[in-house]
């Protein structure tokens, strides 16, 4: 039989088609499945985070009639700072609770009753009295911050879900009574955005971590962008083809892939131990993140510089501009959108980074909102890590909410980068 007979070929090809198209369909199915897995993971991740975290943006408050009884407070003049400091505001809150539920008498029950309201309520009333000293001796109705367990319980009641937690039968009774009289409700959780960390979940906010993150990012940006651009300009416009240049390039490419935790070790050994810088400060965090993001910024800046057409360089040099003038007047302005895109992506990477900052002590429990780059602080991802580790249920909710805020920042930064890149594409 002649193997080169076209008719034989045709027959054999036809015979093979069914099997081959099955293979084709299978192969395509693998592809679709893979994409499906990736997208499913994305959907599950986001719905999981959002469904656990959305509750944290609302907070339960209890309405009580508060009597600023001078006797209970143990002070005579609310204008006196020192007196105010030692005022027994807690007693006022407890009295208000007793007044609301007069039937509760035993000590144990009373303690359970008092724990309906957060200690945060005490601080709020203290501030209120400081602002309006005339309130001393007066009655006023407030919505007071509820304890985190009551918050969790009340939210699960609102959502119609079953609840298994640390709320006692009695407390449930009281909450139901408050609900019947309309004295318990959830409101937008402003405190979450306006306060620092706290051991009490209902009082904990992300402002401290957010400010810490912004300070750290500011240090990172101020250092890494100029240095990164300078290095990129050198490598693209000046560097001779020699061993040193090759070595620099190998180092940059390699550093881009070094695990971030290693940069933490570097920061610990060099900045903290050798230079004796303090722990937990945004300045050191920024330095470490600068070293970490430099490769990203250098690589993207180089790409942006490469994209500037050589004809523009020739035109500038042809006019008699020096090399420095050519770079500063022509290359850098034209490459700027691309370099900014790279910088934003580098900053997004730095904003989400956790491990190296753990190494340099940014995991401390810090209540105050930092005021400068040398104040001890933490950052948003580390705050997430800390809250994720906390045993309280209410912190889980807050962790997810903090993640939503972090992701919000990251998505806006990336959207900005995409927008910049689009503008860049329009130019060439």
């Amino acid at each position: 039989m002649n193997k080169f007979d076209p008719q034989r070929t045709s027959a054999l090809v036809e015979a093979s088609l069914k099997r081959r198209y099955r293979a084709e369909a299978r192969f395509k199915l693998y592809g679709v499945t893979s994409i499906g897995i990736a997208l499913l993971a994305l959907v599950v991740l986001f719905t999981d985070i959002i469904s656990t975290g959305i509750g944290a943006f609302r907070q339960t408050y209890i309405q009580l009639d508060v009597h600023y009884d001078a006797e209970v407070l143990g002070i005579s003049d609310a204008r006196n700072e020192k007196q105010l400091m030692i005022a027994n505001v807690d007693g006022v809150v407890k009295a208000a609770m007793r007044a609301r539920f007069p039937e509760v008498s035993s000590r144990g029950d009373r303690r359970a009753l008092y724990s309906l309201v957060s200690v945060g309520a005490t601080f709020d009333l203290q501030d209120e009295l400081k602002q309006q000293p005339d309130l001393l001796g007066q009655h006023k109705t407030y919505w007071l911050l509820a304890d985190d367990d009551i918050d969790s319980y009340f939210k699960s009641v609102q959502a119609g879900e079953s609840y298994a937690g640390r709320v006692s039968e009695k407390q449930i009774e009281w909450v139901d009574a408050l609900r019947d009289s309309g004295d318990i409700k959830t409101r937008f959780n402003r405190r979450f955005f306006t306060s620092g960390d706290s051991a009490e979940p209902e009082m904990a906010g992300i402002l401290g971590a957010l400010v810490g993150s912004l300070l750290t990012l500011a240090v990172t940006l101020i250092l890494s962008f100029p240095i990164g651009v300078a290095a990129a300009v050198y490598l693209e416009e000046y560097a001779p083809r020699n061993r040193l240049t090759d070595f620099i390039e190998v180092n940059i490419n390699n550093l881009a892939a070094v695990p971030s935790v290693i940069f933490g070790l570097l920061g610990l050994a060099i900045f903290l131990n050798m230079f004796g810088m303090p722990r937990s400060i945004p300045l050191v965090g920024g330095l470490v993140l600068t070293l970490m993001t430099l490769p990203t910024i250098i690589i993207s800046s180089r790409a942006a510089i490469k994209a500037v057409p050589p004809s523009i360089r020739e035109a500038a040099l042809g006019m008699g501009a020096s090399k420095m003038q050519m770079i500063i007047h022509h290359v850098l302005p034209l490459a700027m959108p691309g370099m900014l895109t790279g910088a934003i992506i580098g900053m997004a990477q730095a904003l989400g980074e956790t491990a190296p900052l753990l190494m340099i002590g940014m995991v401390a429990f810090i209540v105050d909102v930092p005021g400068g780059v040398t104040d001890p602080s933490t950052v948003l991802p580390v705050q997430i890590f800390l809250w994720a580790d906390s045993p309280e249920r209410a912190f889980t909710e807050r962790t997810s909410a903090a993640i939503m805020v972090l992701l919000g920042f990251l998505i806006s930064m990336n959207a900005l980068a995409v927008w910049l890149r689009r503008r860049l594409e329009r130019r060439w």
């Binding site: 080169f4 007979d5 070929t9 045709s10 088609l17």
Partner: protein
């Protein structure tokens, strides 16, 4: 070539005939092409071509670059399918079967209508595996000895056997440019196609390698229909029996090669072969 000349010929639509002049049709057509147009997105690259390709003939397509001859060639085995924005309209019948039909399976079609490309494109595999690739995917050989046989015969027919028989396991990319192109031809004939489309197969090769390929084309034309697009008029004259001249996406003239190069029917053809533009 002066600009004025060029402009005169390129812009003067009055010169372009409704239908190709000469002898575009054949009594024994292997492929009958009627009213074929090709468009990329909204830009039309080939305009209403009517042409018959005869059984076991070598037909050359010539014309200035960008005239649509390569695009036209790629319609004949539906390679234009690989380009998303490309739309082909009209009828292309091979042995009375419509080729330009979305429902037609391109796999058996391409097994029957092979293609050799402008730049030699051996797969990054051994010489043996390059040639055995087609027979393997189509299931043309059941035993190793059969496959060996197909590979050897194909390489012999491509005139490459003596040069490579001792190093069949070396990568195809290690060969010289001319050898690579002959390897690609061997790869194509290993599936015993009825038609081979050649898209400027010698444009990347030196004259000696070109001569070898041209010799090969003549031999293959004994039992295979060959459609060759070429930039070189000399090559068209050497290898083809008929020549088709394309101009700005239109088929201008089809005639026996001898006639096209000595006494063309159309003034555009004449202008092209006498080198007034190109």
């Amino acid at each position: 070539m002066s600009t004025t000349m060029n402009d005169t010929f390129l812009d003067d639509n009055a010169n372009i005939p409704e239908q190709a002049v000469g002898a575009p049709f054949s009594d024994d057509a292997k492929i009958a092409i009627r009213d074929v147009s090709v468009a990329y997105a909204d830009k039309k690259a080939v305009h209403e071509v009517d042409l018959d390709i005869g059984r076991n003939e070598v037909i050359a397509m010539i014309g200035p670059s960008g005239c649509g001859k390569s695009t036209f060639l790629r319609c004949l085995n539906r390679m234009n399918d690989t380009i998303d924005v490309c739309r082909v309209t009209g009828s292309i019948k091979m042995d009375d079967i419509e080729i330009n039909d979305g429902k037609l399976d391109v796999v058996p079609l391409r097994a029957r209508v092979g293609m050799v490309f402008q730049k030699p494109n051996p797969f990054p595999k051994s010489i043996y595996d390059n040639v055995a690739y087609g027979p393997r995917i189509h299931g043309l050989a059941n035993r190793r000895s059969e496959l060996d046989d197909i590979v050897e015969t194909s390489l012999r027919r491509a005139g490459l056997w003596n040069e490579v028989k001792d190093r069949l396991d070396q990568p195809g990319t290690s060969l010289s440019g001319g050898q690579q192109q002959r390897l690609c031809i061997a790869r194509t004939i290993a599936v015993s196609p009825e038609v081979i489309l050649m898209d400027e197969p010698c444009s990347a090769l030196d004259p000696i390698a070109t001569a070898k390929i041209e010799e090969l084309i003549s031999e293959l034309s004994n039992n295979i229909t060959i459609v060759i697009v070429t930039h070189s008029m000399q090559q068209a004259a050497r290898v083809s029996s008929r020549t088709a001249y394309f101009h700005m996406g239109r088929l201008i003239e089809v005639n026996p090669t001898q006639q096209v190069f000595t006494n063309p029917d159309h003034q555009l053809t004449e202008a092209y072969i006498t080198g007034r533009f190109g």
